[in-house]
């Protein structure tokens, strides 16, 4: 990798130990991904926030780092483990709460915006086309590259953190003008958001850096987020382009058989003891739509709804939170289904969700069974 004189001196430690470590991370990541240089970035979005995933080692590291590290660019944050407004309603131990709050405080000390959201593309303004960013959250990276016209690698928690501190990132793979070498033909009629989640999960498995997707029509925001979430869960693919691609592209079908395989892998129960909506977190549009779809009916079992704090506040102003609480929903901000400590197999055997990303983590991390249903079917069968 070619470094500027300034970058070289930072790597030697002439700008302090924190900068030196940040540049060591960028150089190690850059060499591992065949980048030839570093480029400036304008926005970093960090993962590695939930105490459930980073543990004591992460908490201690961030606490010590935050003594002198400060972010150089706009930096936003992934969800943490709970919503402080209602954490008392859940059976979470004090140690978890204390360590989680310490992690949040460390990030804030570094100057990070405590957004605790996995959908930064929905709650912040999108910079102009072609802007380089560093998004560590996989669904957000895919959304950025494929829908928002901005560029990011699928970063690790550490490369995004180093990018936040230095304002730079390795110029590798998806930052360059990448052309997919694989085209997926969508062969399913009348798809819903669950279908798109499974299409994404399939694409993540078969794709490398990027894929073309052909045969899909207009997609609403819910389906688009489901596609991004599913894709980020199963592999390292971080971009999709609609269309057939070049004639040289290898072609593969996403048909009923492929969809059934994924369904069988993630759907392990015919019913759920409770319902979760959100992974990725729900935006205001989806919350409003849910209120409309409910038409005054109530859920017949527990239903957890995950959204960003800013969305919860907007929803409150519109009267939506009142309506959802009336329908029996638990509304949680700052956290998400994905890697939540709030659902335990001691309390529930199975969970119904329309999220492929959520299903994967509920099954593999929480160890509960999963029942997959699109939202329309959840409303039809689980409310009255």
């Amino acid at each position: 990798m070619e470094l500027t004189r300034e970058e070289e001196s930072a790597l030697k430690g002439e700008h302090g130990e924190t900068m030196q470590m940040a540049y060591r991370i960028l150089v190690a990541t850059g060499e591992a991904t065949d980048a030839e240089r570093l480029v400036p970035i304008e926005w970093a979005h960090l993962s590695g926030v939930n105490y459930n995933t980073i543990g004591d080692a992460g908490e201690e590291f961030l606490s010590s780092l935050s003594k002198d590290a400060r972010v150089k660019v706009k930096t936003t944050l992934n969800p943490m483990g709970f919503d402080i407004d209602n954490v008392a309603n859940y059976n979470l131990d004090d140690n978890f709460i204390e360590k989680q709050l310490s992690i949040a405080k460390s990030y804030e000390r570094m100057g990070v915006t405590p957004s605790f959201s996995c959908i930064p593309y929905e709650i912040f303004d999108i910079p102009k086309e072609g802007t380089q960013v560093s998004f560590a959250e996989s669904n957000a990276a895919i959304h950025a590259n494929s829908v928002d016209g901005i560029k990011t690698n699928k970063e690790s928690a550490f490369s995004a953190l180093a990018s936040a501190i230095t304002g730079k990132s390795p110029y590798s793979s998806l930052r360059k003008d990448d052309t997919p070498s694989l085209t997926i033909n969508m062969k399913i009629d009348d798809p819903n958001e669950l279908t798109y989640g499974m299409l994404g999960f399939f694409a993540g498995k078969v794709g490398n850096n990027s894929v073309n997707i052909s045969g899909v029509g207009e997609m609403d925001r819910r389906s688009c987020k489901a596609l991004c979430g599913g894709m980020g869960t199963s592999g390292t693919c971080a971009k999709f382009v609609f269309g057939q691609g070049t004639p040289e592209c290898e072609k593969v079908d996403f048909d009923k058989k492929e969809m059934q395989n994924i369904h069988d892998e993630l759907n392990t129960s015919e019913k759920g003891d409770m319902i979760t909506l959100g992974s990725p977190q729900l935006g205001l549009e989806e919350i409003s739509d849910l209120v409309v779809k409910l038409k005054g009916r109530s859920f017949t079992k527990r239903c957890m709804i995950f959204c960003p704090r800013s969305v919860k506040e907007q929803a409150r102003n519109l009267g939506h939170t009142n309506e959802l609480e009336r329908a029996g929903c638990e509304i949680l901000s700052d956290c998400c289904t994905c890697l939540t400590p709030l659902i335990s197999k001691d309390d529930v055997d199975s969970v119904t969700t329309n999220s492929i990303k959520g299903a994967y983590y509920l099954k593999n991390s929480n160890g509960v069974d999963v029942n997959l249903k699109p939202l329309s079917q959840i409303i039809e069968e689980e409310t009255r």
Binding site: T29, G58, S156
Partner: protein, 129 residues
Amino acid sequence: MKVLVKGRAQGKILKSKDPINFLGTVDKKTGIISDTNHPLYNKSIKDSILVFPHGVGSSVGAYTIYSIKSNDSAPLAMICQKADLTVATGCALANIPLITVDSEKMESLEDGKTVIVDSDSADLIAFLE
């Protein structure tokens, strides 16, 4: 050969034919491998030149490498055949020299041999007779 994290170290090779999952299979205090199915089971990676194909498992494993180093139980250097981001960022966090080599060079790095790893020298890895 490629330098991912710079530095210099001298020590004995501890070689594993299997990949290493740092999250969960390496004791953070002692550096001892706790996975009974691993070829290095019950051995400590402390103060070794750790040679292995590549890392596997969650990227959070990078924090484990950092913890092992903080507890003074880390390898002196690591040599891998494939650069994976967990080991690369872990070594970068902990400031442990990391070099990737091709399969032929990998063959020549035998368990128990003493080597000098030096990112500033021309041949990067030199055997000490």
